[in-house]
């Protein structure tokens, strides 16, 4: 397992929004998806995930709905989060800001 990276401040929201932009998901799947895509380099601290989800929901960027889960057990229900229109805009905004930031930081770091 490669070394885990600490998440820079404020990027957790961005990651969650991005993960949800691919389609509605429940909390566990969000953390799984991020871990998989980043090759387990980014491990969302699980204790921060749910507070972050609730915060995003309060801001109106994601919406939650309870839905059935799994074919075998109709009674198992999971809470699915979905990006709202405002959330989509926010994601675009934050993505742009992130790329600007990283490219700026890279430029500085590549100074010779």
């Amino acid at each position: 397992m490669p070394d885990r990276l600490d998440l820079p401040q404020g990027t957790l929201d961005l990651l969650i929004l991005k993960a949800l932009s691919l389609g509605p998901q429940h909390g566990w799947a969000v953390s799984e998806r991020i871990a998989q895509v980043s090759g387990a380099a980014l491990q969302i601290p699980q204790g921060s995930l749910y507070p972050a989800l609730h915060r995003l929901e309060r801001r109106g960027w994601i919406e939650a709905e309870w839905g059935g889960w799994g074919a075998s057990d109709a009674n198992r229900r999971a809470k699915y989060y979905e990006l709202t229109r405002a959330g989509r805009k926010q994601l675009a905004e934050e993505t742009r800001a992130w790329s600007q930031l990283t490219s700026a930081v890279s430029l500085v770091l590549e100074m010779t």
Binding site: Q46, G47, Y50, P51, H54, W66, A78, A86
Partner: protein
């Protein structure tokens, strides 16, 4: 925004559902995680353990999620409230003491606010434009003195209406007593006589019928109509068919054309009027000449400024109108007095609330003072509670330090401590409203002339005020202790252990300094209030012991209201004689006399006396005529200083004689004894001989120069002045109050037609004059006592606390051989030190404030050293008493126990 609100509301109101969902969601996550591990080949037990481990503390996550949901404010508030409530319940003595202290402070303020609001701030009900509506006053110089008139003749009102341009409307109004009903049921009640235009100032619709119109309020057509007051209509059973029926008002019978809406009483701070009748109707009932002349000043003028007209412009406009009117009147009198310019006649538009205007009575000033006093009491109460909370904060230091050490943030702790003081203040506020409710009734009866049925609980303005001061109290009392608790060094507090304070913590010095300052503040304010109480009590005593020149308690005044019944001179003379005889029949009546002037009520004046060799006697003052029979001086108790009083031999046709008041005798014959001197009165032909000099009496004002009174024998009055009014004094054995009704019943039997008699103890006319001093005395004494009590409690708790804190030190001292007496002296000395400092500061404040209190006092210097000395002594005695118990406890500290406790 909307999502946020929806979310928060759902979080707030559907909390249980949200909690369940949160629980389910987290459980779901754990299950997924576990299953992932199981699928990877980890045994289920191990998988569950690892999942949980990876996840972290479920409860903490729940907490964080709740915080993220943003409802934490409400949640923590209820949590804090519960916590505070538990804390308060655990110490019922402390809680009750604090709540009671605040209740008294808040209650006193809420009750006083209700009064001040009514007197000074609240516009009359229904008034459309209170800020643009004014009473109109006239100022002028007369006999070198500035005078202000608020009451005017009908002709003056007409002039002001005609000659001003600054006002949309100008109306006259007057409140007066008139007989309502007939026969034995007839009673004097308040009626309002108003211009038809008066109703236009208000946004009021009659609940029945209509108001009268301008056509019904003209000299040519003084319509006999009336609009009933709502209260009176209710009191007679609120008959729906009242319109069209008739009512006896004074001498007239009027037709009821409408009923005013509830609460509509016009522009009075007195009792609600029974009925509103047109001005012209009132004037016509007195005689048509009163439409023209300026003599009978009885109505007030109300005016509403036009939009954009300033008060200054309106004043200038009024001045011109009043000057024109003055000169018109003067021309009619053939110019016997200075013209308007020389008399410096001015007009002014003043606030519609009388108590705010320049002619406010002493009550309004006193009420403002008492409001100030109430605020001081509240401050003292706050200081006390803050002190108690500080002491409590000390005993909770370990608890607070522990919580800080456990990671509770300071902000959170501050919030919690403030929540606690808010809870205390709220409890005090609620209890205070109860205090205001019960105590306020008494206060309102003291201050407001208006009979007042409203209660505190349904007066939104008072409730709002009480809420605001409760919040202020919470901040005042809570902030200092809370901040001090938080400033403590955690480690030191924990280390210094169970021993309260000791030398531990830098905060403790600052804290005891703060507590000392609060205590000084309390002591100083108590001194100020007690000095005030002393001054007012002394004023009241001076007023009460002031010799008025007649006895008040045993005298009943009886007056016939003829109510339009026309009597010939012979009939009226016979009636007066019958009344005198009838009054004598009443058991307990000792003597009876006729009278024509009644102190603080009405006076007969017949112009200035004419004395050979003296002129301009009119300039000296006003001369009041009193008529009496041979029993007059025995009845009123006025003493004859020289010569004789009125005798049964002073008859019609005999030598005309007078008795003069000492002041009048001295003014007319400054260089010799008045006895035997002769004078004429006004335009009477008879030459009266002075046969006696009586002591001075006060009937117009309790203060100021002595008044001029002269006494005319009854039969000679009839001979030289005309028919005698049916008015008498009866002196009774005992209290006049008990005789007013029997006397009225007996006299009523003599009354012809619809006329009726009313009787009143003389005290009813006199005591209202002393009221402002008795308010002052009562309120300052009550509040001063309260403040002293609070200060004493504060001192006691402070000293007791400091003794507890110094147990160790005291133990050492005793072990080293300090005697019980030394210890007591030391502890009491500490308390007395506070008291002395409080006395010094309080005295300084009182001496400075004395300037403003002086005009409210009666014959009492505001810087009377005796009163200051007594107050200082009282405070010192109280300080000793408050410290003696803790001092005793200190003296009995067992050194072995105290030292071992360390």
């Amino acid at each position: 925004m909307l999502a946020d609100l929806k979310f928060r509301l759902r979080a707030l109101f559907r909390r249980d559902a949200m909690e369940r969902e949160l629980h389910d969601e987290l459980r779901f996550h754990l299950e997924r995680e576990t299953e992932k591990l199981v699928a990877a080949g980890v045994p289920r037990d191990e998988a569950e353990r690892r999942a949980r481990l990876a996840f972290g503390g479920v409860e903490r996550i729940k907490d964080d999620a709740r915080d993220a949901r943003g409802i934490s404010l409400v949640d923590t508030l209820t949590q804090d409230l519960r916590y505070a409530w538990r804390g308060l319940r655990a110490r019922p003595g402390f809680t009750v003491g604090v709540v009671l202290t605040l209740a008294l402070g808040i209650g006193a303020n809420a009750a006083m606010f209700g009064i001040v609001d009514r007197m000074l701030f609240r516009a009359p009900a229904y008034l459309t434009a209170p800020d643009e509506t004014h009473r109109v006053l006239q100022g002028y110089v007369w006999n070198t003195r500035d005078r202000t008139d608020a009451n005017f003749a009908y002709a003056r009102l007409v002039d002001v209406q005609r000659w001003t341009t600054s006002f949309d409307r100008v109306a006259g109004f007057g409140y007066r007593e008139a007989a309502i009903g007939t026969g034995d049921q007839a009673r004097d009640m308040i009626i309002a006589t108003v211009s038809a235009g008066y109703f236009g100032f208000f946004d009021a619709r009659p609940v029945l019928g209509r108001f009268f119109t301008a056509d019904e309020d003209t000299p040519a057509n003084p319509a006999p109509v009336a609009v009933l007051g709502h209260g009176y209509w209710q009191s007679i059973g609120a008959p729906a068919d009242i319109v069209g029926t008739t009512l006896h008002v004074g001498p007239s019978v009027v037709t009821i054309i409408g009923v005013a809406p509830e609460g509509f009483i016009g522009t009075t701070d007195g009792a609600a009027p029974v009925a509103f009748i047109p001005l012209a109707t009132m004037v016509a009932s007195r005689g048509a000449r009163y439409f023209e002349n300026y003599q009978w000043s009885w109505l007030e003028i109300l005016a509403k400024r036009r939009d954009g007209v300033t008060v200054a412009t309106a004043n200038a406009d009024l001045t011109v109108a009043f000057q024109r009117s003055w000169n018109k009147e003067r021309d009619a009198d053939a110019g016997s007095y200075p013209d308007a310019a020389a008399a410096r006649v001015t007009g002014s538009a003043v606030p519609v609330l009388e108590s705010r205007g320049p002619n406010a009575d002493a009550n309004a000033k006193i009420v403002a003072w008492v409001m100030g006093v109430a605020v001081i009491v509240l401050l003292v109460a706050c200081a006390n509670v803050a002190n108690l909370l500080l002491a409590r904060a000390v005993s909770r230091r370990r608890e607070i330090a522990l919580r800080l050490a456990l990671g509770v943030t300071r902000g959170r702790l501050l919030q919690q401590l403030l929540t606690e003081s808010l809870l205390i203040a709220a409890m005090g506020g609620v209890a205070g409203l109860a205090v205001a409710h019960w105590g306020g009734r008494t206060l309102r009866a003291l201050f407001l002339r208006q009979e007042d049925t409203s209660v505190v609980a349904n007066d939104p303005r008072t409730l709002l005020f009480a809420g605001a001061i409760t919040l202020a109290v919470a901040l005042l009392t809570g902030l200092a202790p809370a901040l001090h608790s938080l400033r403590d060094d955690v480690a030191l507090s924990l280390k210094s252990g169970a021993r309260d304070g000791g030398g531990g913590g830098t905060g403790s010095h600052a804290r005891s300094r703060l507590r000392g300052a609060l205590l000084l503040f309390q002591g100083a304010l108590s001194v100020v209030l007690l000095v005030g109480a002393g001054l007012f009590v002394s004023s009241l005593r001076n007023v009460r012991s002031l010799r008025l020149g007649y006895d008040v308690e045993p005298v009943v005044h009886a007056q016939m209201n003829k109510r339009g019944v026309v009597l010939s001179t012979a009939e009226q003379n016979a009636l007066v004689d019958r009344m005198l005889a009838a009054a004598r029949e009443v058991l307990g009546v000792r003597s009876v006399t006729v009278a024509s002037s009644v102190p603080f009520y009405s006076f007969e004046e017949r112009g200035a006396p004419v004395v050979a060799g003296r002129d301009s006697l009119a300039k000296l003052g006003r001369y009041r005529l009193q008529v009496g029979n041979a029993e007059y001086f025995a009845t009123t108790g006025t003493r004859i200083l020289r010569g004789r009083g009125i005798s049964v031999d002073d008859r019609e046709g005999g030598q005309p004689v007078l008795v003069l008041s000492e002041a009048m005798a001295g003014a007319l014959w400054p260089d010799r004894d008045a006895l035997g001197e002769q004078l004429r009165i006004g335009d009477t032909k008879a030459l009266f001989t002075v046969v006696g000099v009586a002591e001075n009496v006060r009937g117009g004002s309790l203060q100021g120069e002595a008044e001029f009174w002269y006494y005319v024998p009854m039969e000679q009055y009839r001979e030289h002045f005309g028919v005698l009014g049916p008015q008498l004094y009866a002196r009774v054995n005992g209290n006049a109050r008990d005789f007013a009704e029997p006397l009225r019943r007996r006299l009523q039997r003599e009354m012809p037609g619809v006329s009726y008699v009313r009787t009143m103890p003389l005290a009813n006319m006199v005591t209202p004059r002393q009221r402002s001093w008795s308010f002052g005395a009562t309120m300052f004494a009550a509040f001063g006592g309260l403040a002293l009590l609070l200060a004493a409690i504060g001192l006691y708790s402070m000293i007791a606390y400091s003794v507890a804190q110094r147990t160790h030190e005291l133990g050492v001292r005793i072990a080293l051989g300090a005697g019980a007496r030394d210890v007591v002296r030391m502890v009491v000395g500490q308390g007395v030190g506070f008291a002395v400092a409080g006395v010094v500061i309080g005295t300084l404040i009182a001496v400075v404030a004395a300037r403003w209190v002086q005009p409210l006092l009666f014959d009492q210097p505001a810087r009377d050293p005796v009163i200051y000395a007594v107050v200082a002594l009282v405070l010192l005695v109280v300080a000793v008493m408050a410290t003696i118990r803790p001092a005793w406890r200190a003296a009995r500290v067992d050194p072995t126990v105290a030292l071992r406790a360390d």
